[in-house]
Symmetry: C2
Subunit: 96 residues, 2 copies
DNA sequence: TTGTTGTTTGGTATAATGACCAAATTTTGA
DNA sequence: TCAAAATTTGGTCATTATACCAAACAACAA
C-alpha cells in the first residue's frame, strides 16, 4: 500500500467513523427527513449541548452535514443524502 | 428514544464501526474481490497476525464477513456484498 | 446596555481502541 | 510422536473518544 492509497483509505474511514456512533447516526437519520436546529437534536438525544455540538462538528468535518446559522439558531442538514442508501445494506447485515 | 430504538441504533452502529478503520476497510475491499486467507491480509497490511486476527473478529461479529477453515488456513469472505455500494457514496462525500 | 437564549470552546476524567509480544491452539507432515 | 506453519487468545501500554461542567460567544430583545 503506497502513500496515496493510504490517504484515500484514511479519507473514507473518516466518513465511516463520523457515522459510527449512535448519537451521530441518529442525527444523520433525523437530518435525512429534513434540517434540524441543534436544540431539536439535543432534545431528542438527551445529551448536553456541548456534547451534541461536538458530534455535529465531527459530521461536518467529515463532509456529511452542513450548517446554516439563522438568527440565534444553527440549522444542520444532510449534505450527501446517499448515505441513507447504505443504511438499507446495514439492515441487510443485521438480518444475517 | 425508547429501549428498542436504542438497540436498533446500537446494532447499526456496530456494523459501521466495524468498517470504520483503515485496516478493516481495506480488508473489506479486498474481500469484495474474493476470499482471502489471513496470511494474505497480513501480507498486504504489514501488521501483526494477532492484530489482523482481532480486526477480522470485529468484522465477523458485526456480520460483515464469514470465515471458513480449510486445512491450516482460514479463509475470510464478504458476507454482505452490498457494503461496497456504500463506498460509492462515501466517495461522493469525499468530492464534496 | 444588560439580560437571555442558543451554540461553541476549553478542560478534565474515564472508557474504549489498537498495536505489539508471548503463549496457546489446530492441522499437517516428517 | 514431534516439529513446523497458520491462526487465535491473553496481556500490557499508549492513544483516542466521549461525556460532562464551566466559561466564552453571538444574536436578539428589553
Amino acid at each position: 500500500m503506497n502513500k496515496q492509497e493510504k490517504s484515500v483509505l484514511a479519507a473514507k474511514t473518516k466518513v465511516l467513523k463520523a457515522m459510527a456512533h449512535p448519537a451521530r447516526l441518529w442525527m444523520v437519520e433525523q437530518l435525512a427527513v429534513g434540517e434540524r436546529c441543534v436544540c431539536e437534536l439535543v432534545d431528542g438525544l438527551e445529551l448536553d449541548y456541548s456534547t451534541v455540538s461536538k458530534h455535529l462538528l465531527i459530521l461536518k468535518n467529515a463532509g456529511v452535514v452542513e450548517d446554516d446559522k439563522r438568527g440565534k439558531q444553527v440549522f444542520y442538514s444532510l449534505k450527501v443524502p446517499c448515505v441513507l442508501n447504505f443504511m438499507h445494506c446495514v439492515e441487510a447485515v443485521l438480518k444475517g
